[in-house]
Amino acid sequence: MLKSFLAFSLCITCMGGVYAAETEREPFDDRYCTTCHGADGRGNEGVQAPRLAGMEPWYLRRQLENFRADRRGVHPQDREGIAMRPMATKLSDESIDDIIDWVGSWEYVPAEATIEGGDPARGRGLYGGCAVCHGDSAQGNESLGAPALAGQNDWYLVTQLKNFMAGYRGAHPDDTYGAQMRTMVNTLRNEAGIINVVSYINTLSR
């Protein structure tokens, strides 16, 4: 009885071994951005993932590196950042290069405006402080490390400005640009200011 059981289990093991050797494992790569960020990286409100198409390569790199190094997406209240960080944690330098190339191949299409109730005229006044770095038409400025804002999903801009204001983003000691944003965002004063300024940005085009 014992003998036959042994013989049986041996046979199972060897069959298993052969089978395993014959089966190839499903390959995967790191080009998974569009699952969240939508078709051609145009952003997906459904999962609150912003538009990547048209994002400056240097800004994209900096953010991917920030996420990877736990400089962004660590505050428990930063819901979207927390969702993003693990997606970046395991990226190699080569993968980041590849993603940046890939994102660069997508056509820039400005996002549609979704927020309501803002006052663009007031927002224009508030935007003066932002323009210093992000440019008069919110087109961005690489030498100052300030990304374009025009054409970005407005719901994303609102969330990020709120996060800066509350210290959910930009609080990491090594996030120098984030620290600058945290100071600047106070000129918007409150949530109404944020909505107004984003309503104004919605009127700008790159």
């Binding site: 298993g16 997906n44 459904g46 999962v47 693990p86």
Partner: protein, 522 residues
């Protein structure tokens, strides 16, 4: 505490006028109960010369149902699936399989044996899910009983008896005993005569005594229902000690324990022999050649007389033109795909929230639970891992696969952890029930549905308010169920009022096909 049940409360109960439930009366509603109806059998018109090209977006079970049924009557179907595998949320994990969780991709290292699998998505089929079961029958899928409730499994809560695990049967026997004793007291308190006839009162008391295993004085003094402390076969059985009611009341878990085996998860439940994806396989045997894998839909444009779909495969963009399109891509992903849907349709897609479920599994080096009289079923823990499922299959084999954690309500706790942190959490939670757990299990897998590639959720959540569907929600739901231009249908359990069940996905597909068929006949 000594408040008696009032006569009025009894009267209300008897007439069912006090609650919201309408009383069932013989000859009225009773005669109308539709529960003998068979599964819907599709009676579709054969495809004509025109209008025969069908695009199916997503190889979830709803998409596969459409492909299977429409192919039978001559339609030419093409299925675009962004992942490397069919089945979507029907996901059985075996030796060597890729778990494509973004940020936590890993391969399953379970031993390569037929019973060593884990249903990381759908796992249970209620016997009333007759449309799904009808396909199982038609596609020759072997089914077996899924054991959900196991009275020998454990209940563990740090608040209960200092965290000592107790058997489910101890919890339920004693709780029922105490509840019955309370009820008997209030029934005996003299209020009975008027609302009840003698015979009704006797029946009721009989039910109460038997519910709680009360003695002749209507007191609960323990019961052999909880098993024996010793003996019971060749010697007299020795009754187990009672757990004091006050002790039982220290845990909130009764709510879960007393409802876990009701409704959709009430007996009888079934599962596919060898893994739930045998159902997917049943379909793909017929329509597998129609699936284009790693084909990610990029845009959907509904036209006057058809639907244009663009998709990416092998690094290039392709166009698929079809007369009809059936789409089971999760709503929260569809919002990120270019489309020309009407605004109310888009509003509906955006309205649906996504659930956040989490499951994990271990391979057990030996079936240690069987030595502890446990065969299948669930142990419940008041900790984030929440459940341990013992496999219903592979009984008495050497090893088995255990579900190590399952959170269907809000899996964000484990989702936020790294793979290693999750595993440690399940080990330390599980060893509160099985002291040697850590040494008995290996080869973990963890699956956070919120991060699964091409899915990013576990199921649609339409209702924002637990008290029911609002009028607005219902309107959005109806709008999403209707086709765009009579050409594009959203399908899947997301287009049902009962999401998170395969049956709902199948029924939504059948609804859409019937609607298309009706329009073609008109």
């Amino acid at each position: 505490m000594s408040k008696q049940v009032t006569r009025r409360e009894f009267l209300n109960l008897l007439s069912a006028a006090g609650g919201t439930a309408a009383a069932l009366k013989a000859g009225s509603a009773l005669g109308l109960l539709p529960h003998t109806a068979q599964a819907a059998s599709m009676d579709l018109l054969a495809a004509g010369a025109a209008n025969r090209k069908v695009a199916i977006l997503g190889a979830g079970i709803s998409g596969l149902t459409v492909a299977y049924e429409l192919s039978k009557v001559g339609y030419e179907c093409t299925i675009l699936e962004s992942s490397h595998r069919p089945g979507g949320r029907i996901f059985t994990v075996r030796h060597g399989d890729l778990i494509d969780e973004i940020g936590n991709r890993h391969y399953c290292e379970f031993d390569d044996e037929p019973h060593m699998y884990f249903n990381a998505g759908a796992a249970r089929i209620p016997s009333t899910h007759r449309n799904l079961l009808a396909y199982c029958k038609e596609l020759n899928i072997d089914l077996e009983i899924f054991i959900n409730e196991n009275k020998t499994s454990y209940v563990q809560d740090p608040a209960l008896l200092g965290g000592k695990p107790i058997r489910n049967i101890d919890y339920t026997t004693h709780s029922r005993g105490f509840l019955a004793e309370l009820l008997a007291k209030s029934l005996n308190a003299g209020e009975m005569d008027q609302p009840f006839t003698d015979q009704e009162a006797e029946t009721l008391m009989g039910m109460v005594r038997s519910f709680g295993s009360l003695d002749e004085d209507d007191l609960y003094k323990g019961s052999f229902r909880a098993g024996y402390a010793a003996g019971g076969f060749l010697e007299h059985g020795v009754q187990k000690d009672i757990i004091a009611f006050r002790d039982l009341l220290q845990t909130q878990m009764g709510r879960q324990l007393l409802s876990a085996n009701e409704g959709d998860t009430g007996p009888i439940l079934l599962q596919a022999v060898g893994g739930m994806d045998k159902i997917t396989e049943g379909f793909t045997k017929h329509v597998g050649h129609q699936i284009r894998y790693r084909s990610m839909v990029n845009s959907v444009e509904v036209k006057e007389d058809g639907v244009d779909i663009s998709y990416d495969q092998d690094g290039s963009r392709h166009l698929l033109q079809a007369d009809f399109c059936f789409n089971c891509i999760p709503s929260h992903l569809m919002t990120g795909i270019s489309n020309n849907f009407p605004s109310q349709y888009v509003d509906a897609l955006k309205y649906i929230r996504r659930g956040n479920a989490y499951k994990a599994a271990f391979q057990a080096k030996e079936r240690f639970w069987e030595k502890d009289d446990i065969y299948g079923g669930i142990s419940w823990m008041n900790n984030p891992s929440n459940q341990i499922w013992y496999p219903s299959s592979g009984i008495h084999k050497e090893k088995g696969i255990l579900l190590a954690a399952y959170d269907f309500g809000d899996g964000s706790f484990h989702t936020a952890m790294t793979h290693e942190e999750r595993i440690e959490a399940h080990l330390s939670d599980g060893e509160k029930i099985h002291p040697n757990y850590r040494n008995q299990v290996e080869k973990p897998i963890t699956v956070a549905w919120h991060r699964m590639n091409h899915m990013l959720g576990c199921s649609a959540r339409w209702q924002r308010n637990p008290s029911g569907w609002t009028h607005e929600e219902e309107e959005l739901y109806r709008a999403l169920q209707q086709p765009v231009n009579g050409r594009h249908y959203m399908i899947g359990d997301q287009v049902s009022m009962h999401s998170a069940w395969q049956e709902s996905a199948v029924m939504s597909a059948q609804w859409a096909m019937t609607d298309m068929d009706r329009r073609l006949r008109a």
